[in-house]
Every structure is written in C-alpha cells, then in structure tokens.
C-alpha cells in the first residue's frame, strides 16, 4: 500500500481505482455461482386490472429463459417491515391489480442483460380500465385527508396549553401555508440484487441495504423462512416471539448512495422470487427510469403554520398542521410536525398531521425526513416575523432561544446553538453585511438569509462482537452498512480509540446476515448507535484483559491493582512504567484471543435529558436583475454535533447535505402527470439535482461540542446539513427582492415580475 495518510476511508483506494464492487459489479466469482439476468416490466397505468400478459414475443428473443408474472410467480406471505416503508399490501406479482404507475408486473429472465432487456420490452400487457377516482397530488386529494396518530417515529399529534386562544390573543400573528414538492433520492447507483436458493432451503442474496436485519427479515417473512435473523433481543421478543432460522443469507455490499432509499426494496424481493421460480440464481438490475417508481421518494407536504407572539417578539403559541401525501401502501408518514416544537421557547402548541393516500408508490425515508419541510416553514416564518417587527433575523432567534427542550421540558444534554450562530455569522459577515437588494456592478442583486438547524436523536439498538487476537488485531463483527457517508472510517477510528489499538490494527467484518445485528445506517444514527456498542464491547474486553494480566504470573501486572491498568497503542500500561503488549498477554492465553459482545440502545437512547444536534445556516445569494436567475454565492453551516470522530469525512458529508438543501431550495421536484400518475421527469436530465456548477462556496464549521453524558460523546451528523439551506435561501431571496416564496423549490417564474 502507498501512503496511508492519504485516506481515512477503509474502502477509499478501491473506490478511486475502480475496484470497489457494487452489486451490479459482482460476478459469479464473487457471488459464488453463475446467475441469469432479470429485468422488471412495469405497468403503464396507475389503476386497472391486468387482463392478459402475452410473453410469446419475448420468448422469441434468443436467450430469454423465463417470464414471471402474477400468474406464475411464487406466493408471498404477509410482510411487516420495521422500516415502515413496508411492502405490506403491495407485495409484487401477487395479483392482476395495478395500483400505481410503474408497478412491477413481470420479470423477464435471460442469459444476458441485453436479451432480458429486449424481452422485457416485448412483453405485451392488456389492462381493464378501472374508472375509479385517482389522485396524484394533495391538491387533488382533499377528500382523502385523515388525521393520524403517528408520523414516522414521531407523534402525529401533540397538544399542550391553549394554543388557539393564545394565538387569537397574540398581538403578532403569523398564519401561512407552506409547500414542499415531492422528489426522489436519485442515488447514483440505480440498484441491483442477486439471489440464489440453496440446498438447505435457504436463500443467499447480494444487495446493498442500509439496515441489513430489516431486509433480511423482510425476505424471511415473505418466503415463510421463519424468523430471519438475529434481531436485537427486544425486537425478537416483541415482533417475532420465536426462534430465528438463519436461512436468509444477505451479503451486504457497498451502496452507491442510499439516503433512505435502500430500505425494503422491491427488486431485492423480486430477485428472490425470480430465482425461486427459475430454479437458478438471478440478478435483477433496475434502470434509472424504474428508480422513480419502484422505490420510495420524499412525500409532498403542505402545512399551515400559525405562530402567535408577544409584541416584544417572544413566541407564545405554535400551531402546526401538516398535510402529508402517502402512497397506496406502507405505514410511513413524513414526520413533519414534531420538529417545530423543539426549537424555540413558546407556551402552547398544537400539532396535527393529516395524511392523504395518493395513487402512487409509497413515499418513505429520505435524508432529513420531516425536518426538510418542517424547518422550511418554521424558519421562513421566523424570518417573516422578524423582518415585520424590524428585528434582525439572528437577534430574533436569539431572543427566542430555548434553554431547555420546549416540548418535553427536559434539559439539553448539550446545546451549543449560540456558538453555531456566532461562528456562522462571523464566517459570512452577517453583522456587517450589505443591505439586501444591493445591486452589484455585474447586474446582480444580493441578499442574505439564515436559518436554525436542529435534529433530534434516537439511539437504535445495536449488537456487536469485538475480538482481540494474539496477532494484535481488533476485529469488529456486526452488520454495518457503508453507503458512502463514512461510517466504516469513523467506526474504525472509534474502535481504535476505545480498544487502545493502532487504527491499522482494526478490521470490520460487516457483510453477512449471521453477524450480530448492527444498527442501520439511517436517520443520522448509524455511527452513533453502533459506536456505543463498540465502545461497550471494548470496555468489556479491557476488563477481561486486566483480570487476565493480574492473575498471570508471567505478566508484569501479576498481583497488581487491576483498576490502574490503561490501554494505549496496543499495550497494557500501568503505574511506574509497567507495560505489556496485548499480543504478549494473549499469546499465553489458552485460546489466544478474547471476545466480548455488547448490545446497546434497547431503550432507543431514552434519557432524562433531551438530545439534539444544533446548527445554523447562513447564505448569500445573488440574483440576476433581469433574468432572476438565483445563484447561491456562499453557504455557511456551523454545526454542534457532539464529538467528531473523523473531521474531514464529517465535513464532506455535511457539505453534501447542505448541497442537498440547495437542491431542495432551487431545483428538486418530481412532477407527476395528473391524468396518468406517471412521473413526467423520471430521468436525470429532467429531474434536476445540483451539479458542480450550481454550487458556490460552501463553508462547514464544526463547532466544538461534547456530550458529557454519552460514553463516546457523539451525536448524529448526517442530516443536520440538509434542512438549513432551504429556508435560508428563501429568506435570502426575500432579502434581495422582497418576494416571499412559501414553497420549494423556488423557480425563476416565482420571482418574475418582482424586478429589483
């Protein structure tokens, strides 16, 4: 190997040299057997019943081996997915009903991908039309709206005090409706899955998933393989109640991006189905266009937000009423509301989500779920009130700073929001900025805006096994997904620090279902949840080693005080220059290695205190005075997210998140045909996402923060960057032009007619 200091990423060299294999790059040699190739045929109607599927022309293509439809595909059992993005009543190929555009209706299996693709194009489908009402947007689904009790992992309803009365009595009232467009994850990797049924009746699956045990369990349930795997004890007891078969062997692979999409994916199930019916291993590859209908996306949200405040600017009541689009199945609801109630001091609150089921596939988790829309509304409203009152938007936020969590009344674990404000403001020059609307000599009008960022934390259950070997290696065994945001690198560093071993001595074993159930790489919690388990297992190992040393006559620590032994750089270290390499101690151990397991997060990190990552986002925009084209010149994000394990990687991740926020602010929207339910911009040329040229200067500041109550001092980082730029850019546009836009994305036509 070359210079190790060049990268902290375990898989970094392979990635830049083209050697990192994603699922579509896996060949027979890596998978362990040959496989045929499957292509999914999708419906060209949103509602209807399949009258006939004619595969005869497809079979004329040389190399086409089989076509599976609802008539001959394996039957599946009911599935409950812990991800909530469940397939439940939309299990594929189970009947002739078509319930959304682009629904899988057949799989063509062939000797080559080309033959499968050609065959798939030749499958002829006749539908019986269903004349029932359809609705593809909230605007068309007023009658379908229903109040809900839960939204994602958050409450769907909260009420405290007399918010309506307080609002009516408030001298300052904000009452507005905010809208966020639906949009897709658009991971660069479209997605593939390979499945093979083995002689023992089990199935081997190669896929890239964010939460291995959830997908393992989905497959196990679908095929009646009993309880798929070693879920953390409490889930096993609660959800499953019996033994686990271990017959689903999911080999998890590097993901080419995931962002919430790679949970309970239908093509993984279809690969298992096709392989079972075909009697041979099958790989299914999804096309880019299919990504828009086979997988989840971020739901459309519309919310009415009312804020009542005193004339001095202090917030009094908060009434949040999000209407959220859902799809034809799944229990996921974009968790919009709860966020707004945690950020600023206020006295009374009311939150009520309503959900309308649309005739689309189910929306699901997508980076900063809920937060993106919640913070857009709240932070735009805060800007609005501040400017109305003639108060600087930053001062207005400071005025309403919450010393404790307003919703729960709990004290914060740590709250460095004010430092985020200070450092962010300084970096963009907030206090001596040009006045909004100033015309630059290049014909562009400038404006500044800001927003608070906030993100709550769940600690997810995680089990890990850590082994120390005679060779001096520290091996961490757990299902740990790497979707690109750097979890492996951070956990390697964390294990090295917790174990007191050099970083090079740490190895992660992550890919197989029979490993202990690591927490999923979801909701900014993967590194944090797994990190705690690794730390706890490491502490157990230290206790074992200390005990071994003081009882081992050959150890310099024999008979010494156990508690005085520390671990540094692969050695046991004690008072008075006493030391011994761990490798020496273990070489005298009968097994030559020691192992410890730990399961943490059983209570989802429940605590007497409230925990959150805080941040502040500041932006400078320039807008062409004639064309109204908006350019984000500079985005600053200052974030206090606990102890940072890998600063370079963390900054990269957060900067990417901020650019996601920029995309939401100015470009990202999946548009749907109101007549047919087809995503009309279902490709990467028309569904805009930020490119290199769209991105101006991005500054990420990691504000020093340490959670003293937490064993590794960590919080989550993955999503905190995403939610600030949306409102901050909207506020900067208002600053520049005086035009208030209350929906995202903001397009040039929203700004026309408001010439500077």
């Amino acid at each position: 190997m070359g210079n190790e200091t060049l990268t902290r990423r375990i898989e970094g060299r392979a990635k830049v040299c083209g050697n990192a294999r994603y699922v579509d790059d896996i060949r027979a040699e890596q998978f362990g057997s040959d496989f045929d190739h499957g292509i999914i045929v999708t419906s060209t109607k949103a509602r209807g019943v399949i009258r006939r599927i004619d595969s005869s022309t497809a079979f004329k293509v040389p190399g086409v081996l089989a076509v599976f439809t609802h008539e001959n595909a394996p039957r599946l059992n009911k599935i409950i997915s812990l991800s909530m993005a469940e397939l439940a009543d939309i299990r594929p190929l189970q009947g002739p009903e078509v319930r959304h555009y682009g629904q899988p209706i057949a799989v063509v299996v062939a000797e080559s991908p080309t033959a499968a693709r050609e065959g798939a194009n030749l499958v002829a489908v006749e539908y019986e039309d269903d004349e029932g009402d359809t609705a593809f947007s909230l605007a068309a689904a007023e009658k379908r709206l229903k109040p809900v009790k839960r939204a994602g992992m958050a409450p769907g309803k909260i009420s405290s005090g007399n918010p309506e009365q307080d609002f009516e009595a408030s001298p300052v009232k904000h009452d507005a409706v905010y809208r966020n467009a639906p949009h897709h994850h658009n991971t660069m990797e479209p997605g593939s899955a390979i499945a093979r049924w083995d002689d023992d009746g089990g199935v081997t699956v190669q896929a890239a998933v964010q939460w291995q045990h959830v997908d393992t369990l989905v497959i196990g349930q679908a095929f009646g393989l009993g309880l798929a795997d070693r879920l953390p004890g409490f889930i096993a007891r609660k959800m499953l109640g019996s033994e686990i078969s271990g017959k689903v062997r999911l080999k998890n692979t590097l993901a080419g991006g995931a962002f919430g999409r790679n949970l309970t994916m239908v093509h993984v199930l279809l690969a298992c189905m096709a392989a079972k019916a075909h009697g041979r291993a099958v790989k299914i590859s999804v096309s880019r266009e299919q990504c828009f209908t086979l997988f989840s996306f971020r739901a459309e949200v519309r919310q009415r937000l009312r804020i009542g405040a005193e004339s001095n600017g202090k917030l009094k009541s908060l009434i949040v009423e999000p209407d959220v689009a859902a799809g034809i199945g799944g229990s996921f609801v974009e968790p919009v509301g709860a966020w707004s109630c945690h950020i600023y001091n206020h006295e009374s609150r009311h939150l009520q989500h309503r959900v309308a089921r649309l005739d689309t596939q189910a929306p699901g988790w997508m980076r900063a779920p809920g937060g993106s829309s919640a913070m857009f509304a709240l932070e735009t409203a805060m800007d609005d009130i501040a400017r109305d009152r003639g108060i600087d938007p930053l001062d207005f936020r400071l005025m309403n700073f919450a010393e404790s969590d307003p919703e729960s009344g709990k004290e914060w674990h740590s709250n460095r929001l004010k430092s985020c404000f200070d450092q962010g403001a300084e970096a963009i020059g907030w206090r001596d900025r040009y006045e909004g609307g100033t015309l630059r000599n290049d014909g562009r009008v400038i404006g500044y805006g800001m927003a608070t960022c906030w993100e709550t934390h769940f600690q997810f259950p995680a089990s890990v096994r850590v082994r120390l070997t005679e060779a001096g290696e520290g091996i961490v065994f757990a299902t740990l997904a790497e979707m690109g945001q750097g979890g492996w690198a951070a956990l390697t560093t964390l294990a090295s620090r917790s174990l007191g071993l050099p970083r090079e001595a740490i190895r992660l074993e992550t890919d197989a279902s029979n490993l202990p159930a690591g927490a999923g790489a979801i909701a900014s919690t993967g590194t944090y949840s797994n990190g705690v388990a690794i730390h706890e297992a490491s502490m157990k190992l230290h206790r074992i080693l200390r005990r071994l040393a003081v009882r081992d006559r050959k150890s310099p620590f024999y008979g010494k005080d156990e508690d005085a032994i520390k671990f540094e750089d692969g050695n046991l270290v004690g008072d008075g220059n006493l030391w011994e390499p761990i490798t020496d101690l273990l070489s005298r151990h009968p097994k030559r290695e020691v192992e410890a397991t730990a399961t943490t997060g059983r209570t989802f990190g429940r605590s007497r205190k409230a925990k959150a990552t805080f941040g502040a986002c500041f932006v400078e925009v320039s807008i062409d005075a004639i064309t109204h084209e908006v350019r984000v010149e500079h985005m600053v994000g200052a974030f206090a997210g606990g102890r940072i394990i890998e600063p370079v990687i963390a900054k990269n991740q957060i900067s990417g998140g901020m650019i996601w926020g920029l995309g939401q602010a100015l470009m990202e929207e999946s548009t749907i045909d109101e007549r047919t339910g087809r995503w009309t911009n279902g490709n990467l040329a028309e569904a805009l996402i930020p490119t290199q040229a769209d991105v101006g200067k991005v500054s990420v500041i990691l504000v020093e923060d340490d959670d003293p109550d937490h064993p590794v001092g960590m919080k989550g980082l993955s999503e905190i960057g995403v939610m600030g730029p949306g409102p901050a850019i909207a506020n900067a546009i208002f600053d520049a032009l005086g035009t208030r836009v209350r929906h995202l994305p903001i397009r040039i036509d929203d700004l026309m007619g408001e010439a500077a």
Binding site: M1, G2, L6, T7, R8, R9, E11, G12, R13, A14, K15, V16, C17, G18, N19, A20, Y22, D24, D25, R27, P113, T114, H185, N186, T187, M188, E189, P190, L254, A255, G256, G257, A258, F259, S287, R288, M483, G484, Q485, G486, V648, I649, N652, Q653, S655, G656, G657, I659, W660, N683, L684, A685, I689, P690, T691, Q692, A693, D694, V695, V698
Partner: protein
C-alpha cells in the same frame, strides 16, 4: 460481428452483438466494472472513459462503431501506484459513496489534459456533466486543482 478493440493497452478480439454499447462491452464482456452505469442515457457521467484521450460517455457509444484506444479507470493507475488524479481524490476526500468517482476521475483527467482546469469556474463548468449525489463537489474541485498543479509540475 467481429471486432478488435484496444482497451487499457490490451488488444481484444471478440465476437460482438452489434447492439452492444461500449459500456456494456467493458462491464459485461471484459469485466472492467470500474466504469459505472448510472443512467444508461448520457445524463449522469458515471460511465465516462477516454477514447484516444478524449472523454466519452461509454453508454452512448456503440462498441461496433468505435475506432480508437479506450482507457478506463482501471487503466490509469492502481491501488499501489495511483495516478496523481487518483491520489488527489484520496487526499481531498473527493468522493463519498464512490459510484460516480471513476467517471469523475476520467472527466477530471481530460479536463486537466485539455487545458480546461484553469479558473475554478472553468473546472466547475467542465465537470458539470458528472453528477455526484453525495455532492462531494467541493472536494472534487479541490482535488482537480491540486492534481492539475502536480501534473503540470511533472510535465
């Protein structure tokens, strides 16, 4: 049809289905899986390779009509001896998930070689055909600027 093609300096003679794209040929026939299929429609840049040193979207190029020497990510450097552009991507953490990275690197290399890596605005414009959903753009830009300096010093 019969086809002879030079890829990374190796001459391959093969029987070719005339419908095959260069991308599918590289990935499925030659097992050069470093070149990625992100959209198959020339919209994302993940499949970028060089033909006679010029950046080409291999998903839009029929292999049968190809004339020239193909270079892929596997042909410019190895994990033990990376090309300066690969080293710069490592040093600047210019990737996250890594799926777009081979395409970014091949485009970056032609951006530098063709003299389009002067001002940062020029690099940004030239590189905007390569999407990165992790949005490691800031570090990609820094990597290209640093590789440009290294490569110019080596000339």
């Amino acid at each position: 049809m019969k086809k002879t093609l030079s890829v990374n300096g190796v001459i391959h003679e093969m029987e070719l289905d005339p419908r095959t794209t260069l991308l599918d040929l590289l990935r499925e026939t030659l097992d050069l899986t470093g070149t990625k299929k992100g959209c198959d429609h020339g919209q994302c840049g993940a499949c970028t390779v060089h033909v006679d040193g010029k950046a080409v979207l291999s998903c839009l190029q029929l292999a049968a009509t190809l004339d020239g020497n193909v270079t892929t990510i596997e042909g410019i450097g190895t994990e033990d001896a990376p090309h300066p552009i690969q080293e710069a991507f490592l040093k600047h953490d210019a990737y996250q998930c890594g799926f777009c990275t081979p395409g970014q690197i091949m485009s970056a290399l032609s951006c530098i070689n063709e003299g389009n890596a002067g001002a940062s605005e020029e690099i940004k414009r030239t590189m905007s055909g390569n999407l990165c959903r992790c949005a490691a753009y800031k570090n990609i830009l820094a990597a290209i600027e640093s590789a440009r300096d290294v490569m110019e010093a080596q000339k």
